[in-house]
């Protein structure tokens, strides 16, 4: 047996022995996501599962062990995720710390910053949010104005962020601030600070889905220390070079959002055939809908192969650096189409917004949520601009 196959066997055995049964139930909605943090809300089984996985480093399986990770290779990580998928085991911990800040620190952080910030992320002890967009800086993110004035031993932050996901529930923020007004791209810094600081205020934004995953975040004379200890600067990378970190992270964010394009394990068509009934040939008894479902199956399976290839080439440094933009574009557009189809198949029943039968309008709210996919983290139009300029090398107007 190869090393990888014995790893697979041991992994399956451990997962089956340790995963609480509640964590093998399908997720119903966003409340089933375990976010951790200083003021966590845990459903049954969540804390146990998070702690057990964190003890093995498997909340962040491919991070190095010294930072709380599992130290697994790409191939081992793939096996772990495959087996978790196969056994229908939920992710033990989701967080912007894992998806975003972690990769930024691993790439740009000092050793001291890594040792200070990463292990609490891996253990789910600190919940982070991301301060990027501002009311006047959407697609043109680098025009951001939130200022960080140098006051000797600290920075003084003033300004406003918007679309800050779960800012009202987060403990800390990684935030783009303007440290030099004379240079657009080389006047931005990537700062880390505590959301309980005096002067930080958050206000949830009600969306068309009726939900409020995003916030407006206000900073009024917020004092951020320059250092949290020796070698632990509050700025990641160099001062005024935060745009480099931001760009690197946008790549991660785009790859992550693109993952929605390959989610949804079972084929839509087989699910709805059970609901609609079948004709005498065993086909879904609505030919137009069947054709659309089959098209969607092709696109979802195709995108799943693309996601695998992207992951493999990304890790091996074989993919174009702008490829995450293509992934984000394709993945989000598929996910939006998928939810359109789910709404269409559901008919009038999925219009119900508050009924118990509709689980509080779960399908409709989910459909509306997907409309943000092609806006957040860079719009589809911006993705296409980047692909055409950086990959296809088409000229500027």
């Amino acid at each position: 047996m190869s090393d990888l196959e014995s790893f697979r066997e041991e992994t399956v055995a451990w997962l089956e022995a340790n995963c609480p049964p509640e964590m093998r139930e399908p997720m119903v909605d966003e409340n089933d996501i375990c976010w951790g943090g200083k003021n966590p809300t845990f459903n049954p089984g969540q804390k146990e599962w998070m702690d057990k996985m964190a003890a093995k480093g498997w909340t962040v399986p491919d991070w190095p062990k010294e930072y709380g990770g599992g130290g697994l290779s790409r191939a081992e990580t793939k096996v772990l995720l495959q087996e978790m998928g196969r056994l229908k085991i939920r992710s033990p911990l989701s967080s912007f710390g894992i998806w975003m800040l972690g990769p930024a620190l691993l790439h740009f952080g000092t050793e001291e910053q890594k040792l200070h910030f990463l292990p609490p992320i891996a253990r789910g002890e600190v919940r982070w949010c991301q301060g990027y967009s501002e009311p006047g800086s959407g697609s043109d993110l680098a025009s951001l104005q939130t200022s960080a004035e140098d006051k000797g031993d600290h920075y003084l932050i003033n300004g406003q962020k918007i679309w800050t996901s779960y800012a009202d529930k987060a403990d800390w923020i990684f935030c783009l601030t303007r440290t030099d007004k004379t240079s657009k791209h080389k006047g931005i810094s990537f700062m880390l600070f505590d959301m309980t600081n005096k002067g930080v205020e958050t206000k949830p934004i009600v969306l068309i889905s009726g939900q409020s995953a995003f916030c407006e975040t206000f900073f009024a004379d917020v004092e951020v220390p320059k250092s949290y200890g020796e070698g632990v600067s509050s700025v990641v990378g160099e001062v005024n070079r935060g745009w480099d970190v931001a760009k690197y992270l946008l790549g991660h964010e785009r790859s992550m959002i693109s993952g929605d394009g390959s989610s949804g394990a079972t084929s839509l068509g087989s699910k709805f055939a059970d609901q609609f009934g079948r004709d005498e040939m065993g086909r879904l008894d609505d030919p137009m809908l069947r054709a659309q479902m089959a098209d969607m199956d092709i696109d979802v399976l195709a995108f799943r192969a693309m996601a695998e290839r992207f992951g493999d080439t990304f890790k091996a440094n074989l993919c174009h650096p702008a490829q995450p933009n293509m992934m984000k574009y394709a993945g989000t557009e598929i996910n939006k189409r998928r939810h359109e189809l789910i709404m269409s198949a559901g008919g009038s029943e999925v219009l119900e917004w508050e009924s118990d039968a509709s689980n509080g309008g779960l399908t409709a709210r989910g459909w509306l949520r997907t409309k943000a996919n092609s806006i957040e983290g860079g719009t589809s139009e911006v993705m296409l601009n980047v692909v055409s300029k950086q990959i296809l090398r088409l000229p500027n107007a």
Partner: protein, 378 residues
């Protein structure tokens, strides 16, 4: 296995790319088209394919081949597609060899040497109507003495007029729609009672309508088992479909490269038209579709090589996705070329025509999309 080419496969890709560009590029394609060649391809080039080892990619090493897999066959096919190289590679060295691999050793000993040397050409006689419907095959093969007698008609037998041997799928029992009862035969293309009417297709390739009128074959012409030919057929179809998806991918990638180059050079309103966002977004979308298609093609080939039980599903995904992406590539290509896209002088139209013919080979995107729905049980 990571979903990208390994170093050996990259090397094969480089040599296949150099070879097709050097020996079988679009100028070569035009030469054979313009002299109204009855084969539609060069036998000399086919010999060179053999010298390069390409015709033995799917032949085991013990039998004199390279003992490689579908990924490697696909690498060669993509370059064929990109250069519009006319050759019998797909039918002979991929689908044909895979059919032989599914049968007994005796037939391989008879046919493989000619394939390995580039002297032999195989053609596939599967389709009986305008659309690919292998489950509806009804051509009859009835017992006759020690062998069988074939009666019926086949069409879209690509390069059927040039082949020395036809791989023929016929029904020895049962009726159309049943898996059991199919039998696959290797038939001498010059057998008595076999009539071939070769016609030129839109992409300048030659295909034959083949009529079988009491064509007698020996029992040892059966590939695999009598009545159990569906296993041979499915293996041949998987190889041919994954292979044609790879060739299609090459056609789409070639068309996209030509088009991107064109819009980088063409000026209107004193401006390079490739700087217009109206074209940039469409081109970037096309790039995205082609990248996804590439992932599906490689995935399907890897799964075939691993012998995965789910390979057929991925092969259909690849054939459908590569078909759709390449259809988009050639349509956008002609449109973005503007008026010159309509001329014979520019190559883009040749890619459009090649894609149209490849799309019909072993099932188009609709056929495979329907198949995926059926495999999912709806």
């Amino acid at each position: 296995m990571p979903l990208y080419l390994n170093d050996d496969q990259k090397m094969l890709q480089d040599s296949a790319a150099d070879f097709m560009k050097g020996e079988g590029d679009v100028a070569h394609f035009r030469e054979f088209r313009d002299k109204n060649c009855k084969d539609g391809f060069s036998h000399a080039l086919w010999k060179q394919f053999a010298e390069m080892g390409f015709t033995g990619i799917l032949v085991s090493e013990e039998e004199g081949g390279l003992g490689l897999g579908h990924v490697e066959a696909g690498v060669v096919l993509e370059e064929i597609g990109r250069n519009l190289t006319p050759s019998p590679f797909l039918a002979t060295a991929v689908a044909g060899v895979e059919a032989l691999n599914a049968g007994g050793k005796a037939l391989r000993e008879k046919y493989l040497p000619g394939i390995l040397s580039g002297d032999s050409v195989l053609a596939l006689a599967i389709d009986e109507g305008a659309k690919h419907r292998p489950d509806q095959i009804s051509m009859a093969a009835t017992r006759e003495g020690n062998g069988f007698k074939l009666d019926g008609k086949k069409q879209f037998v690509v390069q059927g007029g040039s082949a020395d041997t036809l791989i023929v799928v016929a029904r020895t029992s049962g009726s159309a729609g049943e898996d059991k009862g199919l039998t696959v035969f290797a038939v001498d293309a010059n057998a008595n009672g076999l009539a071939k009417d070769s016609v030129r297709l839109v992409d300048s390739a030659m295909a034959a309508h083949v009529a079988f009128d009491d064509v007698v074959v020996d029992a040892d012409a059966v590939i695999g088992e009598v009545d159990e030919g569906n296993a041979v057929l499915q293996r041949m179809l998987n190889a041919g479909r994954a292979g044609s998806a790879a060739e299609t991918l090459g056609v789409g990638a070639g068309a996209m490269d030509i088009t991107v180059d064109y819009i980088k050079g063409r000026k209107q309103f004193d401006t390079i038209i490739g700087s217009f966002q109206a074209l940039q977004h469409r081109t970037a979308h096309l790039y995205s579709e082609m990248e996804i298609a590439r992932a599906t093609v490689l995935k399907s080939q890897q799964m075939l090589d691993e012998g995965s039980s789910k390979a057929a599903m991925m092969v259909s995904v690849a054939k459908a996705k590569a078909g759709k992406a390449t259809a988009l590539s050639v349509r956008e290509g002609v449109q973005m070329h503007g008026g010159v896209g309509m001329t014979d002088e520019y190559d883009i139209g040749l890619y459009m025509k090649r894609d149209r013919a490849l799309a019909e080979f072993m099932g188009d995107a609709n056929y495979h999309t329907n198949l995926v729905a059926e495999m999912h049980g709806y």
